[in-house]
Every structure is written in structure tokens, then in C-alpha cells.
Amino acid sequence: MSFLISFMLLIIIIYFSYILIIKTVNKLFNFNITENKYLKIYYGFYIAIPMLVTFLVITLFSSKLILFYLGKTSQQSFPQNSIKSCALYIHLQEDYKCQILNKKDFKSLKVISKKYLTYTDFINSNKINILTLISILSLFLLFLKLHSLKNINEKLGSMVEVFLWCFSLVGILISIGIILSLFLETLKFFHLVPLKNFIFGLKWNPDATNNISQNLGLIPLLNGTILIALIAIIFSSFLGIFSGIYLSEYMPKNLQKIIKPILDVLAGIPTIIYGFFAAITLTPIIQSFLSNFNLILNNESSLIAGIVIGIMITPIITSLTYDVFKTLPKNIKEGALGLGLTKNESIRKICFQMALPNIISSIILAFSRAIGETMIVVMASGLAAKITLSPFDSVTTITTQIVIMLQGDQEFNNPKTLSAFALGFILFLITLFLNIISLYITKKYGYNKK
């Protein structure tokens, strides 16, 4: 809550300082500023940006900076957590508890954490003072620059550009963050478990108490993941392609206009709903159906998970196929009809050939969606890590194991927790590879309107 209150205070201060500037400038220079909308924004930026930046730095990084400074200046180095918790103990006036954290150098730890406490107290109590100081400084700078405010529009333009450029860096930062965070944790994992054991291991048993590096093998998980994704693709590609073709070529236009948006909405239904449907409704139906043929289906099986993921990705394939068939030029279809082909012959022998690369790339895209799908698999496919090709058995997947490893307590020096990051890295590489292939196919062989 203190965060929110200080943020509100900050906004109020910015507003009042803005009004102050306008009034003083009007009085000093006999100059009616409020007429120029852009000048207002420029002043606002001038005061608001330095204040916002300092505010964010103080709230997010102040304790880290202090710890860094203390680590540089003091002779002994302590772990940051122990300094923090010792400071908390001193704040609660229970100094003796610091001894638990570090028995040997307990006195120097106490001195350092007292310093830490005073610094943080100083910064917390003087937050508003620092901010006002900075606003006054930026006001002063603004007054110095007042004489060169003629080309205000150009200046504002360049300022806006810098602003937008900073935001567009966030996209890069996020992807760098994904790669870095996955990569660093994966490296930590491979210090504990050799790469060879992980990639070629045939056993997945993270709960094993001894010799864990022999029990973290990728192959069973990869088996389950690919089995489920293949079932999904087999189920959905036929349905998706045929319904896409029918929708674009045979359906009356009014119906097309209704059904296409419905497909888009269906593609956005949360996947947990599909998972619920798989576990509660579909499993009993298919179990009773298969029992007629003396086949036994587990309560959790790759068949059900595959079928439901297939249902989930069918709208994607349908709408992509629809889009490709809509972009094909009309004269080709009409020429084929003019030569005496029936409509289905023109579609099968001419249009389908032209659209095939795009359709294949859409199927690859759907395959990568199926591999990365989590909730359906968590609810419907089980936890048994087996190497099997039978669709009636329960299998486990990469995504399920990531959820299982990280759901509860997390210890970042345990191979069990770190294995989730290694699995995530593998998943990231697989999906990235598939996406690049699908992009390559559409770019090189696909039909484009241009």
C-alpha cells in the first residue's frame, strides 16, 4: 500500500509543479503558454520523467544498491539474505538472533546490518524529499533552457521518438530475458546432471532419493509429448483442411461471414475448459465405447489428450486454410472450370497444389502449439513416465513435468527444480525450430498475394 500512496503523492506533486511552472512563466515572460498544447506536454515530460525514473530506481533497486555498496566497502562479505534478516532482527530489537545466522563473525555482521538498516531507513523516510529535490532541479534546468523553446514541436517530436524507442526495447529485453533465464538455470542444472545422461536417459524418476543424475532422462517425456502431438495432428489435419476448403469454396457467403468469427472465438477458448471436457466427459464415453471391443483405456491416456488437443487446434488449421484459399486468384479457378473440370477437380488438382506449402506450414504451426500445450495434458494424460507407443496408456509430457516440478516449493540448488528449466529450454528450442521451419516454408514455397 505504501507503494500506491507514494505513487499518488508523486502524481499530485507533478501536477502542482506543472501548474507552478505555467504561472511563473506566464508572469515572467508575459507569454500565454496555455494556448500551446504541445508546450504543456513538453513541460510535463521535463518534470515527470526524471521523477518517475528516480522513483522507480528507489523503489526497485535501492536495497540492492545499498547491499552492493556495503559489500564493496566492508572487509568481510556476507550473503545478502543474512544481512537482510539480521537487519530485520535488529529492527525488532532481538539482536541475539543474529547469532543464528553467522556464529563466527556475528559482531561484524551486526555492524553491517545496522548500517544497512540506517541507510534503508534514511532512504525510505526521505523518499518524498528526494523526489521534490529532483523536481526542483529539473525545474531549474527548464528555466535555463527557456530561451531556446522556439522549435517546440521538433523537440517534442524527438522526445516522443526516444520515448517510443525505449518502449520498443522492452520487446527485445523480454526475449533476451527468456533466453538468458532459461539458459543460466539450465547451465546450473548441467553442473549437477551430465548432459549425456539428460538427453539419452531412459528413466524419469525425479523423486528418487539417491543417484538422481541417473534418474533424469528426457526420452520418456519426449516420447509422451510427441505421441500426444501426433495423435492430435492426425485427428485435426483431416478435419481442419476439409472444413477450411468447404468453408471457403462451397459455403454461401453470408454463412462464411458468421462462421469465420465463430472459429476465431473458438480458438480463444481457455484450454483448461478443453482439459475439463477431456477428463470429465470424453474419457467415460470413449472408455465405454472401446470396452465393446475388449480394449481397456486408462483413466488418463494419451489418446484422450491427443484427441482433445486435436479439437483445440482444428479451428487454427481451418482458419489458416480458409485464408489461403481466399487469397488464391479467381482467374485460375475460373480458367479450370472453363476447361471443363468439375469444381472438386479444380480444387484438388490446381488450388490445393498451390496452397499446399501454406497448409503444411499451418500444420507445423499447429504441431508446435500441440507440443507446448499444458493444461489439457496436465488434466488428461497422467504422470507415468513410460516409453510406449500405445495410445491407451498414460504418458507424461515435458509441460506436465515443468508444472509438477515448480508448483510447490522451489529450491534453486536442487536438480529437481532446475530440471524444469532444462525441460523448458528444450521445449523452447523445439517450438522455435518448428516455427522457423514453418516460416521458411511459407516464405520460400508458399503462395503470396504479392
Binding site: E154, A279, I280
Partner: protein, 400 residues
């Protein structure tokens, strides 16, 4: 020969129609089965008890004591059922005792010599029996008989289950509700909206209007297209390492899940906004230059207002995706039994899909239909909002 070709044509058309039919049949069946399961969660049973408070009853008693309220209820129930060995919680929910003791504390001595017709919630076993969820063998035959009688005389009657919307999660199925999950979902979506809309739209404007074809431009472009197709669980891993362990946002809090959902929906918003900006024809910008406007004036006064309907539609659809996102939040500690309503952004909270998963995992009766009901609310929310946005888009979109 031509008949054969015509036959093939019919077969082809029939297969296409059949596959569309199958697709829609399965999807409609899915929604139907969930709605059918869910209706039981939307009503509950209440019992009307007539209690007369006498001076003798209230004299020398601690009115705040729940045991006293429980005793009163026990006596009334035994009078009603003409027995002596029925306990209060055999029939009534625990909440009814709390309700009664609140009433006693509030009214105090004003109650004396008055007769009240009070309604109380039944407990989950009897509620489930009346909804045909469990077999009658689980209840004692004596209670069963009396309940049947009371149901016929309408002393026990079904009523709309308002508690499903006003309560937080609970272990007993007659009291569990979606309030905290709903608030958590909506507030984290709002955080995500603020985060991703500002950053996404400004990135898209920069990429479309300001940057020339430079190195940075191409890197950002490739990045964003890749990010859009990364599985959402990998964003969960990012959230753990950067948001939770580096920026030290509290695990399971609204702000953590909100920012993560914002990051997930960022690429979609950027791509949609770029498409919307590209849809504005060049002559509009050129006419702006002709009048003497500068670049940022043209962008913020001409291009953005025209592209806004499409941008907003894309944003709303991305937010709906984020609303249903479950897996990354599971990793960030939102999978908790939460009986408190979150009051600030740093409070722990679940979200609607995670509440569904929690109820799905509880084996006792009555929770599966709660999960179905939560799902139907989620689906209705998603479908209604997307239909509304499509309608509004068609209304306000300007075509060139």
C-alpha cells in the same frame, strides 16, 4: 463417365460438410456438457425455521457464544423433526450458526417475546442428496425420511445460490464461491492491460512510423514474431527467474500475475496494432503534412484515432486470451486455497481458471459442478465480450 465425376463431386462436398459438422458438433457438445453439469451449482436449498425467543431462553446467557446459537438451532430442529438425537451440523451448514449468533449479538434483548421465520442454509451432504448427487445410503434413514417430508411441505425449498457469487473459496461445497478468484482475475487482467497496452502500442508505433529499416528494426521484428509463438508455460519460467527471483515481486500476488499476463499478451497486441496502423492509407498522412503538421502531430491526432477501433479490438481479444491463461500462473504460486478477498495488488490471489483446477482436484461431492459453473461463467464472459467487441468494431471501424 460424367456421372462418375459428378458423384465424386458430391462425395467431396459431403466430406467437407461432414467435417465442418463434426467440428461444430464436438465443440457444441463440449459446451453443452459443461452447461448441463453446471446448473446444479446455481441453486441451493434453504430451510425455514420458526424460532420464538423467550426471556427464559436469553437470560444469563452469553449471546456472542456460537455454542448458544447452536443449541437454540438444535432445540428448534428437534422440535420440528420430533426427535431428540439430531445435532445441528447434521442438517444445517456451519454458516447458519454464525448467522444466528450475529443476529443475537446485534438485536440482543430486543428479541424477547418475538417470533422469527429465519431461513438457513442446509449442509453439503443434504444439499447434495437433494440434488441427486449422492446415493441416499450415506444419510441415516431417520434424517432421510424427515428431509423428504420437509421437502414436500416446502419448509425446505430450492433457491438461487447467491453465495456462489458472494463467497470466497471454502472446504464445504455449499459455501464455496468464486468471489476472490473473480476479483483476482479481473484485477490482474487490468494490470496486464495497463502494462501491455502502453508498451505494445508505443512499440508498434515506433516500428511502423519512426524506425527506418535498420538493424534494430529487423531484430525487434523477428523477436516479436517469435515471441508470439512461444508456449505460455515458458513465460511462466521467465516469470519465476526475473519477476519473482530478481525483481522480488511476492509469489502468488496479483501484480506478479498481472505483469506476467501483460508480457504474454504483448506480442499479440504489437502485431495487431501494426496491422491496424498499416490499414490507414497514405493519403491521410500526406494531407496532414500538406497542412503543415509535424510527424508526431500526424500520428497522435490523425492516424491513431482512425486506427483505434482495430487496436482496441486486438487488445481486448489478447486480454481474453490472458484471462484464460492457466499454466504460467500455476508456476507463480497462484495455485492456493484462498479464503480471503484480495485487497491490494500485493495480496495473494487465485484466478478463475486456477479456481476451476482447484475444484476439479477436490474429490468430495458438489465441487465438480462448482468447477463446471465457474467454467460456464468464464466461457460466457469470453464469448459475450468477444461478440461485443466484434459488434463495436464493425460499428466504429472506418473503411477506406
Amino acid at each position: 463417365m460424367s456421372k462418375f465425376r459428378l458423384f465424386k463431386e458430391y462425395i467431396f462436398q459431403a466430406t467437407g460438410l461432414f467435417s465442418i459438422f463434426i467440428l461444430f458438433f464436438i465443440l457444441i457438445y463440449m459446451l453443452y456438457s459443461i452447461f448441463i453439469n453446471s446448473y446444479k451449482a446455481f441453486y441451493t436449498h434453504k430451510i425455514t425455521l420458526t424460532i420464538t425467543f423467550t426471556e427464559k431462553m436469553l437470560k444469563n446467557q452469553n449471546l456472542k457464544d456460537p455454542n448458544f446459537a447452536s443449541n437454540i438451532l438444535k432445540v428448534t430442529l428437534n422440535n420440528l423433526l420430533k426427535t431428540e438425537n439430531i445435532k445441528t451440523d447434521d442438517i444445517l451448514s456451519l454458516k447458519s450458526i454464525i448467522d444466528l449468533s450475529n443476529l443475537l449479538e446485534k438485536e440482543n434483548t430486543a428479541l424477547i417475546n418475538k417470533t422469527y421465520n429465519l431461513t438457513f442454509l442446509l449442509n453439503s451432504a443434504i444439499d447434495n442428496y437433494l440434488k441427486n448427487n449422492i446415493s441416499p445410503q450415506t444419510l441415516t434413514p431417520q434424517i432421510l425420511q424427515e428431509i423428504k417430508k420437509l421437502r414436500l411441505t416446502k419448509i425446505i425449498y430450492p433457491i438461487f445460490n447467491i453465495y456462489f457469487f458472494t463467497n470466497n473459496d471454502s472446504f464445504s461445497s455449499e459455501l464455496a464461491g468464486i468471489k476472490s478468484a473473480f476479483i483476482g482475475s479481473i484485477s490482474s487482467i487490468l494490470v496486464a492491460l495497463i502494462f501491455s497496452f502502453i508498451i505494445g502500442v508505443s512499440t508498434a508505433i515506433y516500428l511502423e512510423e519512426f524506425s527506418s529499416k535498420k538493424l534494430l528494426h529487423s531484430i525487434v521484428e523477428i523477436n516479436i514474431n517469435n515471441l508470439a509463438s512461444v508456449p505460455s508455460i515458458i513465460y511462466g519460467l521467465l516469470g519465476i527467474t526475473i519477476l519473482q527471483n530478481f525483481l522480488l515481486l511476492p509469489r502468488g500476488s496479483i501484480i506478479l500475475s498481472g505483469i506476467l499476463l501483460g508480457i504474454i499478451s504483448l506480442p499479440t497486441i504489437i502485431i495487431n496494432t501494426r496491422l491496424a496502423l498499416r490499414g490507414i492509407p497514405n493519403y491521410i498522412k500526406e494531407s496532414g503534412y500538406g497542412v503543415g503538421a509535424s510527424k508526431h502531430q500526424i500520428i497522435f491526432n490523425l492516424v491513431l484515432p482512425l486506427a483505434l477501433p482495430n487496436i482496441l479490438t486486438g487488445t481486448v481479444l489478447a486480454m481474453l486470451r490472458a484471462l484464460g491463461e492457466t499454466a504460467p500462473l500455476l508456476l507463480l504460486g497462484a495455485f492456493i486455497f484462498n479464503t480471503k478477498t484480495p485487497l491490494s495488488l500485493f495480496d495473494k490471489s487465485t484466478s478463475l481458471p486456477i479456481q476451476i483446477l482447484l475444484w476439479y482436484n477436490i474429490p468430495s461431492h458438489g465441487f465438480l459442478e462448482k468447477a463446471s459453473a465457474a467454467i460456464s461463467i468464464l466461457i460466457l464472459l469470453v464469448i459475450l465480450i468477444s461478440i461485443l467487441t466484434m459488434y463495436l468494431k464493425n460499428k466504429f471501424e472506418k473503411k477506406f
